[in-house]
């Protein structure tokens, strides 16, 4: 197929694909799935952190956290816009989320139990997200690539804020240090899971790489994350909850890297299947927001129609 060959050549030449250009159905579908999943993750991701806004311990922390969660809504918004350029509507995507057909990142099915979790999410979860997202700035699809450039800029800011919370806590009272260690214990493994199963088991990886939607292997990114994060934990005086962690000179083509233990993929697939600690609550909260807000959206729509009619009549 010459169309398909031309498409692949553009990709190989690092030329961005734009909305109105021809693209293979599979490329379009893969992108819709990935971008909307990413958008849904931003939306659902508001909930675990939003859970602490009313309890943030200082006015500054409250403002920072609120702004962060607001940023996530904003990311959701421009990711939905990017997906819409591929021929779906935001309402369709929302329907897929609320019906449980579309996925969102499993990490958000874990509860935020203490203030330290807000630090840990910023540090680890946003850290892992950035690791996943930085390569997506070079994604072959233009609107997605541009959205990710904006997202990444804000995420790195969020990560620094999260690390700052962890820093204050780990230098704080005994209870605060314990809180920080406990948060690291609970968020460490789920963060490693964010890179997805080993590439060998990952269904879409090879094609996505060829299409320039995916740049790095899951395992490579996970390794990079571990190598970056272990020293940060040490700096905080906290212990990563993995006894297998040990420096290995031979790793990363001789540049060295950390060996680490096996991720519990049973837990990953269990949470993915809906049996995580908060799956029902997260989706329930979004469904409730949507249903409770129907009258509001209808009201605005009705007013817009009235205004339009008045303009025509005038």
């Amino acid at each position: 197929d010459p169309q398909e060959r031309a498409f692949q050549e553009r990709i190989d030449a690092n030329i961005k694909i734009e909305p109105k250009e021809w693209m293979p159905e599979g490329y379009r579908k893969t992108l819709i799935r990935q971008i909307s999943q990413h958008a849904h993750s931003e939306i659902v991701g508001q909930l675990p952190e939003g859970n602490w806004i009313t309890r943030a311990p200082t006015l500054d922390r409250k403002a920072i956290l609120l702004a962060k969660v607001q940023d996530e809504a904003g990311h959701g918004l421009y990711l939905y816009c990017a997906a819409e350029t591929l021929g779906v509507t935001r309402d369709q995507l929302t329907e897929q989320l609320l019906s449980g057909k579309a996925k969102y990142s499993s990490i958000f099915n874990y509860p935020t139990l203490t203030w330290a979790d807000i630090g840990a999410i910023g540090w680890l979860v946003d850290g892992a997200a950035i690791m996943n997202q930085v390569p997506l700035q070079r994604c072959s699809y233009g609107p997605y690539s541009r959205a990710m450039i904006r997202v990444c800029k804000e995420e790195s800011f969020h990560q620094r804020q999260g690390y700052d919370i962890m820093m204050v806590l780990s230098k704080g009272s005994e209870e605060q240090r314990a809180m920080a260690q406990d948060a690291l214990n609970r968020w460490w493994w789920p963060s490693l899971m964010m890179f997805g199963p080993s590439d060998a088991e990952s269904v879409h990886s090879a094609q996505s790489m060829a299409w320039g939607i995916k740049q790095d292997s899951n395992d490579d990114l996970r390794q990079k994350f571990v190598d970056q994060t272990v020293p940060q934990a040490e700096y905080l005086g906290l212990k990563v909850p993995d006894d297998d962690i040990v420096w290995n000179e031979a790793k990363n083509d001789g540049k060295g890297g950390y060996d680490f233990g096996e991720v519990n993929w049973d837990e990953f697939f269990d949470v993915l299947a809906g049996n995580g600690p908060c799956n029902a609550e997260r989706l329930g909260a979004r469904v409730k927001a949507w249903e409770d807000g129907a009258w509001f959206r209808d009201g605005l729509m009705a007013h817009a129609d009235k205004q339009a009619a008045r303009k025509i009549a005038a």
Binding site: L47, L66, V69, A73, Q176, D292, W295, F296, L300, A302
Partner: protein
């Protein structure tokens, strides 16, 4: 000092408590755009609360920071009006509460720009820019929802009927308000009320909504006599500072 302190505390507490209520919507609003917009308003109000309470602490001269005032006072010491602490209800009630406050806040800040206290003028000027946007947004929403569907109209009218008596607490001057005006620290509340009422009448008519005419003011907050819901709200807001006294965050 007393009138300036009272004024700063009242303005700060109003901003803080309204922000706290609004912030609880985060992630639960009826549309993504509203989630973002309401968070913006809450962020502005938190910023204003910091300025007002910070200044109140300075005036008091006992070394209390804005955070100390926000997180370490008991309910009876808060000076916000009852309006801003009313429960969120549905998004219509939240919107109506915001609008009733914005439409007073705006004219109050205009008045405060003429304060004899320079710091108050500064804070008022900074806040007024933000509040102009708050008022524009909430007025727009009240009009669109009031003149929307039958259901959105009914919800907004119910919210207006419920909240209007609370909004009147803003207008009724007590001794502290009179001392504030007498000292030239802030405007006469009657003049603020008049402007707010005129502004609201215009908007309500566009919204096809009707304000109650015989509403007895629901008041108490300025004297620290709050609603029962307020204690629960504070317990939540202050839990970390109360549980771990004296540490850094």
């Amino acid at each position: 000092v007393k009138p300036a302190f009272d004024l700063a505390l009242r303005m700060g507490d109003n901003a803080l408590i309204l922000a706290q209520r609004n912030a609880a919507w985060c992630g639960h609003a009826p549309a993504l755009e509203e989630d973002i917009a309401l968070a913006n308003v809450a962020l502005d109000l938190i910023g204003q609360a910091k300025l007002w309470l910070g200044y109140a602490g300075e005036l008091e001269g006992e070394g209390r920071s804005a955070d100390d005032l926000a997180f370490l006072r008991d309910g009876r010491e808060f000076r916000n009006v009852l309006l801003v602490e009313t429960p969120n209800g549905d998004f219509g009630q939240t919107t109506m509460r915001q609008w009733l406050y914005d439409s007073w806040h705006h004219f109050m800040l205009e008045g405060l720009k003429a304060s004899s206290d320079e710091r108050i003028v500064e804070i008022a000027e900074k806040s007024a820019k933000e509040v102009a946007y708050h008022l524009e947004r909430s007025t727009d929403l009240v009009i669109r929802l009031g003149d929307g569907t039958d259901e959105s109209h009914k919800r907004m009218q119910d919210a207006l009927d419920y909240l209007w008596p609370f909004a009147r607490e803003l207008d009724v001057a007590d001794d502290a308000d009179r001392a504030i005006a007498a000292a030239g620290i802030g405007p006469d509340l009657a003049s603020v009320a008049e402007k707010a009422l005129a502004y609201r009448s215009e908007a309500l008519s566009q919204a096809t909504l009707t304000a109650p005419t015989d509403a007895v003011p629901r008041k108490g907050g300025k004297a620290g006599v709050h609603s029962e819901a307020f204690g629960f709200m504070l317990a939540e807001m202050q839990v970390l500072q109360r549980t771990h006294p004296g540490v850094k965050w």
